[in-house]
Structure formats: structure tokens, C-alpha cells
């Protein structure tokens, strides 16, 4: 054998070995997140389905469904939840549309401030809004005091307002995205053809955000009927499904009924997901390349009323959240409004421990989540198209599963005596995983978008220059993806810090989390301490949001210099 031949052989051997490593890396990137998705998402839902069909005496059938129908109060709670859900959805859609329209299609100033204020409810547990409402309009409320008469805020009115304020930002986000896809040429064409403003609105604007409205409607409806915190804080005697289920399951150990309700609660989001799929297929015009954004102009007859409504809505959100922070520093709400820090001395057993648990859970959820999502998105590109489609479908499904349902299903999957998975039950890790899979879809979609920004040409060039998969990953993909990774990490962290509806079923007396503490403090009558605890949560989350902004800015600046 000549020297050259030896060299060639060596080199090809080296290549083979490296190709083997590459395949291993890619296989791991696909297998690990898919396996986790199966265990922590598909499996619990399957167990819930099974449990719904297994009666307490072990027989298989629809006994649980019958039992549910016979359970006193369930029907009432269901009707209440539907009423509340529909009312909240209606208000949120109208108000959300007004806000989104004002911010995207008019010259009304302050869009950035409005966005910032509207982001607040998402940085806090949902029940903070209920809490704030009580400080303003409750028995000892600031406004009630000023008016000198008692307003009965507990029950449907309070719940409605709190849920509207909580869900509004999410509706606005969706509607803003839908309204942002405007193309001036439609409006120009209509204008030249003789259409007036209202006509243009009904013929062009509304039809083009039809799916945005539908999707926002379903998000609001689902969030409302599965929200736990506000129902507990301001619901009063107005029984709703979420609290009723919680009582049935954790109070009376009626797991079969819980499983049935969990399944039923999948219906609205199931419909929503279906509609979105139809919408995606009929996605016309929107976002076409070369779209000309409309010229915004100031039209007093339109913009003045719009800015009044927008201003009031924004102020309400600000006031309700602001009053919680304010009240946490006041000695005796609302009678002695002098500054004190005494409410920050949490008297509930455990004190601030749940906050630290939440922090730990959130960091774990964010780290594990970012890692798994990145691996999944990296791996999915190398799958053949059919399996890739299936994985994609499953990965986007969690958004259709309300937190309440996911939390419930975890009981059926991990609270089984004798199962090896039951070691996880009661651990912070399971809370973290539950939170991660609760927000899996949003993180996944962000990651997919980020991965699209990796230029395939760059990747191929690196490969042709002799880089293995690992080097391509380190030198090409990760640098481009860093902003996405940061965004996903902080998104998961922040959601995990504030969410309540999923983990409420998984907390134990020894493993509390922050949002639950707020609820317990409120239940125990320590409203000011609940406010103080909420303020601490918001502080952590705001700090995280700030850290994310700074990190992204720093990256952008560094990228600019390069």
C-alpha cells in the first residue's frame, strides 16, 4: 500500500468515526426530548383518559361521567363558568380589539407605554388582579370608602373584571399580531373604488382579522374557565368549575370525576386548535412579501374615542396592580395609610420558603425546557418529513391543554403507588416539568422561528469546510440562536414563576410555591401580607424581564460591532 493510500484510508476512517458521532448526536437530540414529551405530556393525558373510564370500584365504563352529572353543584358551577367565560370573552374581544387597533392602526401616542402596562398582568399571578380589585372595590376598598357605600364586588362582577384584566393582554397580543398584517393596497383599492371608512373597516379590516378574533376568543375563554387564582380570591359564593374540581379532587378525593372534567375542559381548546388549523390552511394574503404598511393618519372622530377607551383600560390595569404594591406598604388598609414594612414579615408557616421553591422550580423549568426544546428543534430538521410532522404536531399540542387539566393529569400519571415514576411526585422537579410542558408550545414555536434564522447556506458551508455536526452546532447554530435561547429561557422562567392553575394540584404541605402562598395568605385573611408576597413575586419576574432585555440588547450591540 502506498503512503497516499494509507493516508486516504486513515482519513476516511476518521470520517466514518466522525459520521458515527454525528449520528449519535442527532439521534440523542431527537430521542431525548421526544421521550420526555411522551412521559410528561402524552402519558399523563392518556392516564387521565383511562382514569375517567375506570370507576372507583375498578369497573370500566362511564360510571364517572354519570357520577359527575349527579354531583351536586357541578351543573351550577359549569353554568357559572360558562357565563363567566362567555362574558369575559365578549368584553375582552371588544376591548382588546379597540386597544390593538389603537396601537397598530392609529397615530394615538403612547403605544409603548400601553404595551408596557399591559405586560404587567402577565408578570404576576392571575390572582393579583383579584387582590387589587378587592383593595379598590372590596368591603374595605379605597373606592368603596370614598363613595361611602358598600359595593359587592365578590362573585360574578369581581370575577368578570379580574378575569378581563388578566386575559386582556393576551387578547391584545393576538389581535395586534393579526392587525399588524395590513396591506395599504387593499385600502387604497377600496378607497379609489369609493368605499368609505366604515365600509373599509367591515369589508377589509374585520374579515382579515377574523381568525385572530376567533383565536383570541378561545384563548380568553379557556384562560377564564380554567383560571384558579381569581376564583379563589374574589369568586365569593359564585362557584366555578375550576374551584369545584379542586375541591372534588383534593378535598374529597374524587379522582374519577376530576378526570372526566379534565377531559371535558379539553373541548374548547380542541375546537380552538382545529379552527387555527383551518385558518392556517386558508391563510390568504396576510404577510405577503411586498406588503405596503398603511400610512397612519390622525382622524379625530375615530381616534379621540379610541384613545379614551384605551386610556381607561390601561389605567385600570395599572391601578389594580399598582394598588397591590401600594397596599403592601400600608399599615392598615384603608384606614391607616402610613408606610410600613411589617407585612413583608410573612407569618404563614414557611415564610418566604415557597418563593425560593418557586425560584428553584422556575430556573429548573427554564434550563431543562430550553435545553430540551433546542435539542428537539435541532433534531426535527434532520428527520424525514412524516415523522417530523408528527413530532411537530405533538410538540404544538400542549397549548391546547389548559394548565388545570395538565396539573390534574399529572396526579393520574405520577401519584400511583408502586409506579417507578411516582418518586417524582411531590418533588420540585415534577413541578418544573409540569410548568415546562404547560408552556411547551410557545417555547417550541419561538425556537422554530429562531432556527429558521440560521442560514442553511452557512451551515452547508461549514460542513463543506469539514466541520462535524458538533462543530456546526457550536460555531454556526448556537451563535445565531443565542437570542432565541435567551428569550425562551426567560419566557419559561417568568411563566413558571407566576402560574398557578397547573401546579395547584401538585403542591404538598411541604412543597409550597409562591402563587399558592399568596392564595393561602388571602384565605387566612392576611390580605396585606398577600399583597406583600405578590409584590415580591412581581419583583423577581420584573427583574427577570429586565435581565432578558439587557441580555438581548447586549447581544444585539455585540452583533452590531461584529
Amino acid at each position: 500500500m502506498s503512503i497516499a493510500a494509507v493516508e486516504v484510508a486513515e482519513r476516511s476512517g476518521f470520517r466514518l468515526r466522525r459520521a458515527g458521532n454525528d449520528r449519535l448526536l442527532i439521534a440523542a437530540a431527537i430521542a431525548l426530548p421526544c421521550l420526555a414529551l411522551l412521559i410528561f405530556f402524552v402519558f399523563p393525558l392518556a392516564m387521565m383518559l383511562r382514569r375517567s373510564l375506570v370507576a372507583d370500584d375498578g369497573s370500566i365504563g362511564f360510571a364517572n361521567y354519570v357520577a359527575l352529572a349527579r354531583t351536586p353543584g357541578i351543573l351550577k358551577a359549569t353554568l357559572n363558568s360558562l357565563t363567566l367565560g362567555l362574558a369575559t370573552t365578549a368584553v375582552c374581544l371588544v376591548l382588546g380589539f379597540v386597544l390593538a387597533y389603537t396601537m397598530t392602526r392609529t397615530r394615538v401616542p403612547g403605544a409603548r407605554i400601553i404595551s408596557a402596562v399591559l405586560a404587567l398582568p402577565m408578570l404576576a399571578p392571575s390572582l393579583v388582579l383579584g387582590l387589587g380589585l378587592i383593595f379598590l372595590l372590596g368591603r374595605n376598598g379605597l373606592i368603596s370608602g370614598m363613595l361611602g357605600k358598600r359595593i359587592d364586588i365578590y362573585g360574578l362582577p369581581g370575577l368578570l373584571i379580574a378575569d378581563v384584566l388578566y386575559a386582556l393582554p393576551q387578547a391584545v397580543l393576538i389581535l395586534k399580531a393579526a392587525l399588524a398584517h395590513a396591506d395599504a393596497r387593499y385600502y387604497d383599492a377600496a378607497e379609489v373604488m369609493g368605499a368609505g371608512r366604515w365600509r373599509q373597516f367591515f369589508d377589509i379590516t374585520l374579515p382579515n382579522v377574523k381568525f385572530g378574533l376567533l383565536s383570541a376568543g378561545f384563548v380568553v375563554f379557556t384562560v377564564t374557565i380554567t383560571d384558579f387564582g381569581n376564583a379563589a380570591v374574589i369568586g365569593g359564593d359564585y362557584a366555578v368549575l375550576a374551584t369545584e374540581i379542586y375541591n372534588q379532587v383534593t378535598g374529597q378525593m374524587k379522582f374519577g370525576i376530576g378526570a372526566v372534567v379534565g377531559l371535558l375542559l379539553l373541548a374548547p381548546t380542541g375546537i380552538a386548535v382545529y379552527i387555527e388549523r383551518v385558518a392556517a390552511q386558508r391563510q390568504f394574503g396576510g404577510g405577503a412579501e411586498g406588503a405596503v404598511p398603511p400610512q397612519l393618519s390622525f382622524v379625530p372622530a375615530r381616534d379621540v374615542p379610541l384613545s379614551i377607551v384605551t386610556g381607561l383600560a390601561t389605567l385600570s390595569v395599572l391601578a389594580v396592580i399598582g394598588v397591590v404594591i401600594y397596599a403592601s406598604f400600608m399599615r392598615l388598609w384603608p384606614y391607616r395609610l402610613t408606610f410600613t414594612l411589617k407585612h413583608y414579615d410573612i407569618t404563614l408557616s414557611g415564610g418566604y420558603a415557597p418563593l425560593w421553591t418557586s425560584l428553584l422550580v422556575s430556573v429548573v423549568a427554564a434550563s431543562v425546557g430550553t435545553f430540551l426544546l433546542f435539542a428537539l428543534v435541532y433534531g426535527i430538521r434532520r428527520l424525514p418529513s412524516l415523522p417530523a410532522k408528527i413530532v411537530y404536531l405533538v410538540a404544538t399540542m400542549p397549548v391546547g391543554v389548559p394548565g388545570l387539566v395538565l396539573g390534574l393529569s399529572y396526579i393520574f400519571a405520577f401519584n400511583i403507588a408502586g409506579s417507578p415514576l411516582s418518586v417524582l411526585y411531590g418533588s420540585a422537579l415534577l413541578l418544573a416539568l409540569c410548568n415546562f410542558y404547560h408552556y411547551h408550545t410557545q417555547g417550541f414555536l419561538t425556537m422554530v422561528t429562531g432556527m429558521r434564522a440560521v442560514p442553511p447556506a452557512l451551515e452547508e458551508a461549514a460542513t463543506c469546510l469539514g466541520s462535524g455536526a458538533g462543530e456546526v452546532l457550536a460555531n454556526v447554530i448556537i451563535p445565531v440562536m443565542t437570542p432565541t435561547l435567551i428569550s425562551v429561557f426567560f419566557f419559561l422562567f417568568m411563566r413558571s414563576m407566576v402560574t398557578l392553575s397547573a401546579v395547584i394540584f401538585l403542591v404538598t404541605p411541604s412543597l409550597g410555591i409562591a402563587a399558592v402562598s399568596v392564595m393561602r395568605l388571602d384565605e387566612a385573611g392576611f390580605v396585606s401580607q398577600a399583597a406583600a408576597f405578590s409584590t415580591c413575586i412581581m419583583l423577581v419576574v420584573c427583574a427577570a424581564a429586565l435581565a432578558m432585555q439587557l441580555a438581548l440588547k447586549w447581544l444585539a450591540a455585540r452583533g452590531g460591532r461584529r
Binding site: R185, D188, M193
Partner: protein, 335 residues
């Protein structure tokens, strides 16, 4: 119908997009606004449509000032480059939209829509949504939508430039036929000189917010007024006066008076002829084969000339040739 533009002026911040544009469109003529991208064609069209207001100058329709008339009351029809069909309406609904706004009777609308669908040869697509149509079909529908209400004026903003060559050529013919048949005056924006020459009764050649020349296609091609027009309307040899005086004295007869630097001779490649001749003073530099004709570059008296030739034997790079020109085909343009 007479549309009169009188010293229209438009600036964006400090940038002058239109510089005192005056123009008259009369009868049922087809006028093209032709010029390179960014020269202000769209801006001018949008001002005519009423989608943009001029800073100064007047816009008159049959003597009536249009400044105070909003776009929706001008009664014009407009077609954009692409994506202007309402995505949520079917083809038939799109075409009937203008009539619906005018509160026409249902039966009348249906009849008119059917008639127009026949005219654009798409009667089978009435119930499709725009995204289900090809680019060419979309533009046909857009055209039908624009003419459905018998507009007083049709405005077209590069309606063909998003289409591929074959479709573009077909649609070009259709637009011309449709316009002739309906007899509606039309202003079309394009940056494609070939398109402008094929379609227009008159071409308005624009450059940097100004009108360079207005005239029939033949005028602009054979007697360009400025260097810009000569350059933009096909290729030409632009020759300085002193060189012409020495090399082609015959051309000096048609030269307007003025300093040497004021005018350039514009000599189209087809008005120059080559004769293979051993004693010829010119040398062939390069021959580009274009199918039925060839473009030959020759060096002569210190300049290179572009010549259009048939297939002349003996014309190969390096060959000696004699050059002669067709003096009648030469025009003089302002430098």
C-alpha cells in the same frame, strides 16, 4: 374627458419627488408614465388617484379642480402591481365590489360581473378566492374590478411587472384590447420601455421627479429630446459634437444651434452600417450574436460605436471595416 396636471409639486421631507409636473391627458388615450425606479411615477399616479395630496399645483378634470374631491368620489379605477384583490372575497365579489358600494341592484351586479368575467376569459373562476389564482389571473380580475363601474379614468401601477415574461406578454395585449374596446382613458406606470412602446398612444418619460419628454413612442425613440431619453429608450451611440464634425460631417446639418457641449448626436445602432473592406479605417472589436441580428462593436476614430448588423460575412473581431451612417436616422439631444 380631459385630465390636466398643472405644475404639480410633491416633496417628502426634504426630498423632491415631483418637480412641477404639467401634463394633459385627453380623449381615450393610453398614456404611459415611463422612467427608472424611484423617479416619482407611483407618486404622480397616487396624486391623480387622490390617495396622496400634492404640495402645490392643480389637478383638473374637465376643467374642475379635483383637489377637494377625495379619492372615493373621483370615480377612477385602479390596479396595483399585485396583492390588491380583497383576500376575503371571491373573484365575483371582488369584481362587483364597486357596484355594491354604489348600491346597484343585485341582478345588475350579477349581470355586469358575468359580462366582465367573460371579457377577461375567466368565467369558470367566479367563486374562487384570490389566493387560488395565478398572478396573471389575479391581475385580470383586478382589471375587471377596476373597469366594472365604468370609471372615468383607469390608473395602472406596474400591473405586469410581478408576472413572468410569457404571461406578461399575453396580458399586455389583453390590456391594450380591453382599453381600446372600452375607450376609457388610461394612465399606466411602468419602468419597461418595451411595454410602454407597445401599449401607449403617448409616453411620458420621467427622470428624477421631472418630465424629460412627452410624445408618441416613435417620437421618443427616433427623436429623443434629451440624453436621458435616448439612453432609456433602447441603446444608442451618443456622440460629442467635435467628434461628429470630424467623423460624420453629414450629421451636422440637422444640428440645432448651440455651443459644442450643449448637444450630443444620438445615433441608433440600426442606423450605422458596416462594409467589410481591407482598407477600412474601423476595426471590429466584438460581435454579440442575438439571433436574427448581431450587435457589433467597432473602434473608429478613437471611439467605439455600437452597430446593429445582419449576418455579414467577414465581420469578425479584428476585421477591418468601413463605416457609413444613415444621416436621416440621427437626432440631436441635449447633453
Amino acid at each position: 374627458m380631459t385630465l390636466e396636471l398643472d405644475r404639480l409639486h410633491k416633496t417628502f421631507d426634504d426630498f423632491t419627488a415631483l418637480d412641477r409636473i404639467s401634463l394633459t391627458v385627453e380623449g381615450s388615450e393610453f398614456v404611459c408614465l415611463l422612467g427608472p425606479s424611484g423617479c416619482g411615477k407611483t407618486t404622480l399616479l397616487r396624486i391623480i388617484a387622490g390617495l396622496l395630496t400634492q404640495d402645490s399645483g392643480r389637478l383638473l378634470l374637465d376643467g374642475k379642480d379635483l383637489s377637494a374631491v377625495p379619492a372615493r368620489e373621483r370615480g377612477f379605477g385602479i390596479v396595483f402591481q399585485s396583492y390588491s384583490l380583497f383576500p376575503n372575497m371571491t373573484v365575483a365579489e371582488n369584481i362587483g365590489y364597486g357596484m355594491r358600494i354604489r348600491k346597484a341592484e343585485r341582478a345588475k351586479i350579477a349581470a355586469r360581473v358575468a359580462e366582465l368575467l367573460e371579457l377577461i376569459k375567466l368565467p369558470h373562476l367566479a367563486d374562487r378566492l384570490p389566493y387560488q389564482l395565478s398572478g396573471g389571473q389575479q391581475q385580470r380580475v383586478a382589471l375587471a374590478r377596476a373597469v366594472a363601474v365604468d370609471p372615468r379614468l383607469i390608473l395602472l401601477d406596474e400591473p405586469l411587472s410581478a408576472l413572468d415574461a410569457k404571461v406578461r406578454a399575453d396580458l399586455r395585449v389583453e390590456i391594450r384590447e380591453l382599453q381600446r374596446r372600452l375607450g376609457i382613458p388610461t394612465v399606466m406606470v411602468t419602468h419597461d420601455q418595451e411595454e410602454a412602446m407597445m401599449l401607449s398612444d403617448r409616453i411620458v418619460c420621467m427622470n428624477a421627479g421631472r418630465i424629460e419628454q412627452v410624445g408618441a413612442p416613435q417620437d421618443l425613440y427616433l427623436r429623443p429630446a434629451t440624453k436621458f431619453v435616448a439612453d432609456f429608450m433602447g441603446s444608442s451611440n451618443l456622440l460629442p459634437t467635435d467628434w461628429v464634425r470630424d467623423a460624420m460631417p453629414a450629421l451636422m446639418n440637422s444640428r440645432p444651434d448651440g455651443a459644442d457641449a450643449d448637444y450630443l448626436a444620438c445615433l441608433r445602432p440600426e442606423h450605422v452600417r458596416l462594409q467589410p473592406l481591407d482598407a477600412g479605417e474601423a476595426r471590429v472589436v466584438d460581435v454579440t450574436f442575438l439571433g436574427n441580428i448581431s450587435r457589433t462593436k467597432v473602434a473608429w476614430k478613437g471611439r467605439e460605436l455600437m452597430v446593429q448588423t445582419g449576418h455579414v460575412g467577414g465581420v469578425a473581431p479584428g476585421a477591418a471595416v468601413a463605416v457609413s451612417v444613415d444621416a436621416a436616422g440621427c437626432g440631436w439631444v441635449r447633453a
